[in-house]
């Protein structure tokens, strides 16, 4: 096989050339710069930056809160998607359109708005305060902001999968005497499980890197409420480019590892599901 299959259409050279050139200049070259900057560090310096107590604290918060946010989004994403797909109620279309709001709304706006709502004197914060729940300037606030900005990923991943659940199967099962929870566990859940995992993955990936909405609500105390992206910014502000590049590299490697693991899990699930269907 030659490099490309023949076609009567023109323009391959021009468009392919421009695409690869622009991609290399805009994305690949800058990424190479980061790898080189981190790679040019002495090994002991690299370890010193990457495993400092402050860095470890920030990974714990960034990855922990993102994991929590993605898990919350899987649960609420399913409930919201279910409500939008299965139930008819006034305002359904409007809510369906509003789900994408966190995508369209600049993160800085989400950040200051959430902080204001959940601060001690805010609309919701004032009712949580007497209960002893502090959201703004704690890890709870970080999780909340991450949940908000990644919520559409979960809903939008589950919605099409729920539409594909075969309702005649559900009806048949119920007619044959299956309870609602049995139907959910045996028919609905297996169909939407891959979509739920995808929703989790996308939410998690978005949340780990998030900066704008978090820094307003986090309080940004080192070791406590400081996320890794902020630590990178702090290194850059001190003109410690190598340290920043090292942290960036660690973050990218860690998030790609998580994404890869979830992809493997999904492939394994698919195989198991197919085998189960055959036997």
């Amino acid at each position: 096989m030659s490099l490309r299959a023949p076609s009567v259409l023109p323009g391959f050279g021009l468009t392919f050339g421009f695409t690869t050139f622009f991609l290399s200049a805009m994305v690949l070259l800058p990424l190479a710069a980061m790898v080189l900057a981190a790679g040019s560090m002495h090994w002991s310096d690299f370890v010193h930056v990457v495993f400092s107590a402050r860095a470890l604290g920030s990974y714990k918060l960034s990855f922990g809160a993102s994991f929590l946010a993605a898990s919350i989004n899987v649960v609420f994403g399913f409930i919201i998607a279910w409500t939008l797909v299965r139930y008819e109620f006034p305002g359904r279309k409007l809510i369906d359109a509003l789900i994408d709001m966190p995508f369209a709304l600049p993160t800085a706006v989400s950040g200051i708005a959430l902080t204001t709502v959940f601060a001690q004197s805010g609309w919701i914060g004032r009712y949580l305060e007497p209960l002893g729940i502090k959201v703004a300037y704690t890890w709870l606030g970080v999780t909340l902001a991450l949940t908000l900005i990644s919520m559409p990923f979960a809903v939008r991943a589950v919605q099409p999968a729920l539409l594909e659940v075969q309702r005649d199967l559900e009806d048949a099962a119920e007619t044959l005497g299956a309870g609602r929870f049995y139907v959910f566990r045996r028919i609905i859940l297996p169909t939407v499980l891959p979509a739920l995992l995808t929703g989790f993955t996308l939410s998690f990936a978005r949340a780990v890197g998030e900066y704008g909405s978090v820094i307003f609500i986090a309080g940004n105390l080192p070791m406590k409420t400081e996320i890794t992206p902020l630590l990178i910014v702090i290194h850059l502000e001190q003109f410690d480019y190598q340290g920043a590049a090292a942290l960036g590299l660690v973050m990218l490697v860690m998030s790609f590892t998580v994404l890869f693991a979830i992809n493997l899990l999904q492939a394994w699930g698919r195989r198991r599901h197919l085998l189960g269907a055959n036997s």
Partner: protein, 287 residues
């Protein structure tokens, strides 16, 4: 389609739809959804406007009389005016190459185009600091030639371009693959040139996807915070975009002005969703 759906039982005729358990589950789900969305989505949105108008319409209007605010709005508009067309041209070229031709390494190319979406905005901005910053790869050369990219307009544009890089392409690639090449092949065979075919055949076929991608690209370009924050240097009146200006005003406890600027970006978001909904009404579904 409609003939088939008439044969299927309606929801009311489904078994078990009238039991009290169903009603409870149904109302519980709707209540949970609405409460969750009200707390994390509607309350913050309402807060933006409540805070912006907290001291009256006059205070709101005065926020925009500040020359720094006007400069921030101008900078954001200029950046989007450069970034969105460039990424649109890229998106069209990439989707033409990927959707119209079969070649080796195509899936790698598609993955690489999506790469910026998987990278933290802060890291995206940092990449350009590493290249063009004072201690970056080209830092000394740039200084010798008295050029500045970081802490100046070109850096802001580059960082924004990186972050919004995939938006148009990822809408157009699946769409062009879906609509196929038959009409284009017919046009070329009948003697039309490449450009004529593109403008008269392809572009009309994918126009809604193009609008959709450009609108999303624009929303992200105008609202980008993390990447721009790293490269901007936060020079008031010079390198502050609207989101960065919001941060400064907010940290100065100038809440009315901060939320006034935020209200503009919120309106932009509402407008973006409006266009998106309109485009979806033409039958186009985002990818």
């Amino acid at each position: 389609m409609s003939a088939v759906s008439k044969l299927l039982p309606t929801d009311a005729a489904r078994p078990g739809q009238h039991t009290w358990l169903h009603s409870i589950v149904r109302w519980f789900f709707i209540a949970v959804s609405l409460t969750f969305l009200a707390a994390v989505l509607l309350a913050p949105l309402a807060t933006v406007f409540a805070m912006a108008f907290a001291k009256g319409v006059e205070a709101y209007a005065r926020a925009f009389a500040d020359p720094d605010t006007a400069a921030a709005i101008r900078l954001t508009l200029i950046t989007a005016a450069v970034v969105v067309p460039v990424n649109t041209v890229f998106g069209l070229a990439a989707s033409w190459a990927i959707a119209k031709f079969e070649f080796r390494g195509k899936s790698v190319l598609v993955t690489l185009i999506d790469l910026p979406l998987a990278i933290s905005p802060v890291i995206s901005g940092m990449l350009f600091v590493l290249l063009f910053g004072l201690h970056g790869w080209f830092g000394v050369w740039l200084q010798e030639h008295d050029l500045s990219i970081i802490f100046a307009l070109p850096g802001i544009m580059l960082a924004t371009m990186f972050v919004t890089f995939p938006y148009v392409a990822r809408e157009l690639i699946p769409l062009m693959q879906q609509v196929g090449n038959d009409e284009e092949e017919a046009a070329i065979t009948l003697g039309a040139g490449g450009w004529l075919t593109f403008f008269r055949v392809t572009l009309p076929k994918v126009r809604w996807g193009l609008v959709y991608g450009m609108v999303l690209c624009n929303a992200r370009a105008m609202g980008e915070f993390g990447a721009v924050s790293v490269v901007s240097g936060h020079i008031r009146g010079l390198t502050n975009t609207m989101p960065l200006h919001i941060e400064i005003l907010y940290n100065e406890y100038n809440f009315v002005a901060a939320f006034a600027v935020a209200s503009l970006l919120t309106l932009l978001a509402v407008l973006t969703l409006g266009v998106k909904t309109l485009v979806e009404r033409t039958g186009y579904r985002g990818h």
